[in-house]
Amino acid sequence: MNAILAISAAEFRIALRNRWVAIAVAMMALFSLVLTGAGSAPTGILGADRLSVTVASLTSLAVYLVPLVALLMSFDAIAGEVERGTLPLMLTYPLGRVEILLGNFIAHMLTLTLAVAIGYGLAAGVAIWADPRASAGVPAMVRLFWTSLILGAAFVAIGYAISVIARRPGAAAGLAIAIWLVLIVLYDLGLLAAVVTDDGGRFTTEIFPWLLVGNPADAFRLYNLSASDATAAAAGVGAAAHAIPPAYALASILLWPLLGLGLAVLAFRKVTS
């Protein structure tokens, strides 16, 4: 345990001194604020409070941004050590590879928590300041916060698997972007195309919901939208969100970090020097 914490402490320092992480935090903060400003228009129309509207906008944002930031922090974890030549020495210390990964994981989750808290905190602050009814949206905001962290955990873990398998930071970065594109952008487009082609057939009713909930980003979106009517209403996807039980979506986002870490550990075991 001491070994894990020692690695976390060092990696957290490194993360704080890394300009990528600074960019990620700034990006979270900036986008959150822009969305809060943009979200002010429909407030009156839908009758939802300002914070719920903000949460709806942030949910859409988080689906893209949180995985990106998580991958950005994690893709270099092992590949960077291989490139710098620091990994062999580390591997001669009396600690397991699982401990190396967990140490990194704690540090990166801490950094991610910081970035998300700053971004959402700013957005929530503005909403509460502007709308006295905003306290109604606090539970949704809290839920968005912790589910964002779990979504982030999934992609940090996936980033480690990428980092171990790619072995080189350049290759890992490319693979990370590819995975992000596939899981976050192309996956939904593909499903959409399939649903349109299927035109209400068996695929749409029986297979599509499972494919949707199986993707961590979609599961995250579903869970946040289905858990709060106000948020779902604000996002205009009420019906779709209710098609799948929220528990399934939650199970999916909880499972993905474990899956990712498991994969990373398996791949890391095979690495020699």
């Binding site: 070994a3 001194r17 620091t86």
Partner: protein
Amino acid sequence: MPNLILSRLTKTFGVTRALRDVSFTVAPGERIALLGHNGAGKSTLMKIVLGLIPFDGGMATVLGAAPGDRAARRQVAYLPENVAFHPALTGLEQIRTYLRLRGEAARDAMGLLDRVGLADAATRRIGTYSKGMRQRVGLAQALIGKPRLLVLDEPTSGLDPVSRRDFYATLDGLAADGASILLSSHALTEVEARTDRIVILSQGAMVANASLAQLRQQAALPIQMQVRARDGAADMVAESLGGARFNGATVNLNFAPDQKLARLTQVTALGALIEDVEVIPPSLEDIYSHFSKQVRP
């Protein structure tokens, strides 16, 4: 029981036979120098001892365990060649981390850095360090805890002469406490005085494993003697000793080691004709190239 036992160790990379049937042991308190040309297999052997890469044949036992076993890793220190650290960490932070990874108190970090002469730079980022300073961070981490086996890959590369001397003094202290030391080096002269035994690898095969004195004897390389004659006597001296004249007044003689006394007697017999005599034993470089030229098929 030896701290390190290698028996017929074999390692192949594709068509490169990096190690061929290498067998030797390192006892507690022993300091072994691993010598060999570039690509001879020194680093490969060390990585195998640390469990960083697998081997194809033979056996390796490190402190009674398999290489890379956690039990072995606890008591083995390693300094890789071209040691590297994360440039964003300071020397102090890096050593504190390593201390904690070995279950030692992080507060010892400053003392370790002081031991390798880095106390003043301790709070600067390693990215700003010179090559020799990075090497010293590597040495500092190898001194953590009480390692029973130190595997040091070209530990003095990049170190200035004074730091080298200090470094070997530190090793002497560790060896006196019973630690085994296996180090590779291309600096033959420093190895000469500071190690107990020399192992020479040549294209992956072990061609020597003995103390320097024994290697000297085994090699039986010719001894050189320079005889300086008095003014005008050089020709006479050269003729009677059968050597070649060189530099006007000096006569050069080369002969097998067992002829040394006979030759000296000859020289002293010339008495007044001689101004000075110098006997030059084969240099360490000569001995080294004698052995590293031998390659088993």
